[in-house]
Amino acid sequence: MYLSEFEFEALKRIGAEGASNGAKALSLMMEKTVGMGVSLIKVLPLTEVAEAMGGAETVVAGIFLTAGGPAPCNILFIFPIESAKTLAGHLVEYSYAYDEEIDFMGKSALSEVGNVVSGAYLKSLSDFTEMEFIPSVPALAIDMAGAVLDAVLARVGMTDDMAVLMETVFSEIEQNVIGHFFLLPEAGSLDKILEAIGVKE
């Protein structure tokens, strides 16, 4: 799965609009200003995903959901643990210490972020493709990056070996927070998406 420049541009536009929608939704929901932008779009082999997160043993917060419809996808949001703490802390007005675990409230806030932001990306994807994407309820896991990834990769690895990464930067928080948004299309879904956008070569 290699994308042409045109296809990349299309994904970039989807990402940019999704991020803009996401920032609005998140700011409204949390009654705080949160900025969002896509800093990087990349297609990478599944086996390199853990390395991109800083190694398989790095502790991360992962939010996973599926998007059903004519072009089913899986979505995985990964935050480095420090970013997760900053973001969760900002949302629940608490400051997590270095060695402190994220509590129930914080976890719930992170899941909500996953929910809202995924919804925004999917809305943008839906606008561009005129296809429906129905998100599932998000599930959260805080553990080693490799472990968080592999359950999801196993799901996608049955059919494909590449993933689309949209690196998402959350701004206007105490410090910039980076989240890695992975769109993992199931077999044939990426082709369907690109075809619907009209850039499929």
Binding site: F64, G146, A151, R155, G157
Partner: protein, 158 residues
């Protein structure tokens, strides 16, 4: 020396080296050891069965990784009849209210690995499987001891 085994990968090590694989979630680490040859082998499998996925990487599936690992160990002087096995991993990292079958991949991986070991007549002497947390494992080729590390549930040897 620590020899790393990646996801959907396998390797062998001679004493005093150590085989390591990081961040096992629903994946299963299959560890084989020949006590006389002091030879260890490790496979990090992602899926139970090669018939459900794209072919190519044999180390990705339980049913193709095990024969490949045994073969590799035999070539380096291991005796198939002396091999013993230890396994770790196969957890369920995400829990959904609607328990869809595909997310129980950890459990299915563990079952598949056990069946493959049985078919290959290799005795499973220890396991640390299931739960909902990640594991990093290290197999010592000298002693056959398997070290398991987790983020919040400590460490142990099996």
């Amino acid at each position: 020396m620590i020899i790393k085994v990646g996801m959907a990968d396998l390797n062998i090590a001679k004493a005093p080296d150590i085989l390591q694989t990081c961040g096992l979630g629903s994946c299963v680490g299959i560890c084989l050891w020949d006590s006389s040859a002091k030879l260890a082998g490790m496979a990090h499998i992602m899926l139970p069965c090669s018939s459900i996925g794209k072919r190519g990487n044999e180390a990705k599936f339980a049913d193709t990784a095990l024969p490949l690992l045994i073969e590799k160990m035999k070539k380096s002087g291991a005796d198939e009849h002396r091999l013993i096995a230890k396994i770790a991993g196969g957890s369920q990292m995400f829990s959904f209210s609607s328990s869809s079958d595909v997310m129980k991949i950890g459990e299915r991986n563990t079952e598949a690995v056990k069946q493959c070991l049985k078919n290959a007549r290799i005795r499973l002497i220890a396991e640390d499987t299931g739960g909902s947390y990640g594991r990093t494992i290290e197999l010592n080729a000298e002693t056959g001891s398997l070290y398991i590390r987790t983020v919040s549930l400590g460490e142990k040897y099996i």
